[in-house]
């Protein structure tokens, strides 16, 4: 019987400082064979171990189409994330992955895709964006609305630059307030969503960000006539086991770690409001 609690040893090959409190870690399994055979789907998560400190859950934000490494982005907020931030390239961590479900990208084929992200909430969207760009012909228009508190708080600045330059991606960036040197939009993401007012026809909207942002984005999407099954979000909860047992990440009978983290608004409406 496989031990689901046993992490795979991995080495940090690169650390990218995304923002003042977010770092991205590129890791490869020490076992090269495992790296070659590792399979996951966009949206799935992993548990990262700092041995002796603990585990924490992060989405794999590199796409399965680019398997040189797995990338995780970590905001420094608690015990494990602080310990992760103290690590260096070449250090050992543990990885339990992949866990959870994924974005229904097959069902999205032939559709317009609207991504709405806030802060580090771009991480789970990034894996799907890159996956779709690597399979660009399968999808129609791709629009990305992304915001953060200030310009330095925007994640994946290299990606943003690339997406901005691509003619087949419509990237709309915003920060909360005016900022020296910022000449793009200002305002909260849900407000910018209203301004952009994307059409719901043949479109799937995917959103992730802080709980309060998600709440208003969902409301605004409904107002823009998006149907519940056209709206997808990916949730974050405190998790421990990652296999739907330990009991803390449930919303009703669904466990975010196993049955999620990806839910359509239609699915969420069937669950108690414990977000």
């Amino acid at each position: 019987m496989k031990n689901p609690y046993l992490p795979e040893l991995a080495t940090i090959t690169k650390i990218i400082e995304e923002t003042p409190n977010i770092k991205s870690f590129q890791v490869v399994f020490n076992d090269h064979e495992k790296m070659k055979t590792f399979k996951f789907e966009p949206g799935q998560v992993g548990q990262l171990s700092v041995f002796g400190v603990g585990e924490s859950t992060f989405v794999i934000n590199s796409p399965p189409t680019r398997m040189e490494y797995l990338q995780f982005s970590v905001m420094k907020v608690g015990e494990v994330t602080t310990a992760l931030h103290e690590l260096h390239e070449g250090d050992q961590i543990g990885v339990r992955a992949p866990l959870g479900n994924w974005f229904p990208y097959e069902e999205m084929k032939g559709k317009n895709i609207l991504f709405i992200g806030g802060g580090i909430g771009l991480a789970p969207l990034r894996t799907l964006i890159l996956f779709m760009l690597d399979n660009r012909k399968d999808y129609e228009d791709i629009t990305i609305i992304y915001g953060a508190r200030t310009p330095p708080d925007l994640c994946y600045k290299d990606d943003l630059k690339e997406w901005e330059s691509r003619p087949d991606v419509n990237l709309i960036l915003t920060v909360d307030n005016e900022y020296p040197g910022w000449d793009k939009r200002t305002g909260f993401v849900p407000t910018v969503l209203n301004e952009v007012a994307p059409k719901p026809d043949n479109t799937i909207a995917i959103t992730c960000g802080p709980p309060i942002m998600i709440k208003f984005v969902l409301q605004n999407l409904v107002k823009l006539n998006f149907k519940d099954d056209q709206i997808i979000t990916t949730l974050e909860k405190r998790m421990k086991c990652g296999i739907g047992i330990c009991g803390r990440c449930n919303i009703g009978s669904k466990y975010v770690c196993k049955d999620g983290p990806v839910f359509s608004l239609a699915q969420l409406k069937d669950l108690p409001p414990d977000l």
Partner: protein, 360 residues
């Protein structure tokens, strides 16, 4: 499997001694009036006349256990880097739980669906569970707050036991339930028990008739979704709750846990320890956000888990065996059976509800 055995009362200790030569044997022991399952010793003050304060889930799902150990060493070629060796701690011994009350034995079946019969089984639980023989003990009487018959069980329910033992005059009738149980009563202390069958059945029936049903409506409780989602109900019903973990830690079906790393200098271990959905830390996120911020949210989830969410996943089976401990030992007498009764759907016929109120 009907080969009934009979164990004379005076042979009880000898029988346990014999079991203890082959297995680790846990028995309910009274110490300062507190009954708990402890390792059998010849002078153990075995207590059969009232249920243990804490169920024998401690044997298969201990309060804490080491899942993994980590050993650190400096990399020789690169002394600023650390190598990690991970070891799994799995060393499970043949074990017997003697005189588990039927509600406690049944509690393990609630665990089984989640830990054993799932697509991702838990090897620590399964390891212990498979090596453990459970000798159930038909309740000789009822206890304050217990309500097993109202949640689809009886004080002589065999589900979860490998053997069911019933006290009759002069000894105990042992009814094997599984092959594992059958093997255990191959002992020189066990005689043929068929002539005691009638007495045992009568005793079981007598006790069963004494169990109180706290629910106004017959049949398994059906929770009304409308009442369940009414926050004001919870605020009033739970004002007195202290948000401690007594109810969950004493519950034979509560299985939530925490995983933490505990560090020494050159080694560390990853522990699993009991956790309780009634604790605010349980769901508190590092950002400070808590999806279940108050005791009302937390108790709602606790009741939801036992009476809605678990049944939704597992064919309508409730995650409550009616042992009554959470009622009996609650410092302020929060009564889950009363809460469920007040939530029950007085309009509906008996049908299984999903958590959104639809029919399963």
């Amino acid at each position: 499997m009907t080969e009934l055995g009979f164990l004379k009362k005076e042979n009880l200790v000898e029988f346990l001694k014999e079991l203890a030569t082959k297995s680790v044997v846990y028995v309910p022991v009274a110490d300062d009036d507190v009954v708990a399952f402890k390792l059998f010793q010849e002078n153990s003050t075995i207590c059969l006349d009232r249920p243990a304060n804490i169920p024998p889930k401690t044997v298969i799902f201990p309060q804490y256990e080491t899942l993994l150990t980590f050993t650190f060493s400096k990399k020789e070629e690169q002394p600023d880097k650390i190598d990690v060796k991970i070891q799994e701690k799995m060393d499970f011994k043949d074990t017997v739980i003697f005189a588990a009350r039927p509600c406690d034995a049944k509690g393990f079946t609630v665990y089984d669906r989640v830990y054993k019969d799932s697509d991702i089984p838990d090897p620590y639980y399964v390891g212990r569970r498979e090596k453990t023989v459970i000798i159930g003990f038909s309740c000789p009487n009822v206890s304050p707050g217990c309500f097993c018959t109202a949640v689809g069980s009886t004080p002589s329910d065999k589900e979860g036991s490998d053997i069911l033992m019933t006290e009759v005059s002069g000894g105990f009738v042992l009814e094997p339930v599984t092959e594992k149980g059958k093997a255990v009563i191959q002992s020189k202390f066990i005689e043929d028990g068929s002539k005691y069958l009638e007495e045992a059945q009568k005793k079981q029936e007598d006790v069963k008739n004494k169990v109180k049903n706290p629910f106004k409506k017959a049949g398994k409780p059906q929770i009304s979704q409308e009442k369940f989602n009414d926050d004001s109900f919870w605020e009033l019903a739970l004002s007195k709750c202290l948000s401690c973990g007594a109810c969950t830690f004493l519950c034979p079906t509560c299985y939530c846990f925490n995983i933490t790393d505990e560090n020494k200098i050159w080694e560390a271990e990853r522990l699993r320890s009991w956790d309780a959905c009634m604790f605010p830390h349980f769901t508190l996120e590092a950002s400070g956000h808590n999806p279940r911020p108050t005791k009302f949210h937390r108790f709602k989830n606790r009741v939801g888990h036992k009476f809605l969410y678990y049944p939704e996943k597992y064919n309508g089976v409730l995650a409550c065996c009616g042992c009554g401990r959470c009622i009996r030992y609650c410092p302020v007498s929060v009564d889950i059976s009363k809460v469920v009764d007040e939530l029950s759907d007085t309009n509906s016929e008996n049908k299984t509800l999903t958590s959104n109120g639809g029919e399963a």
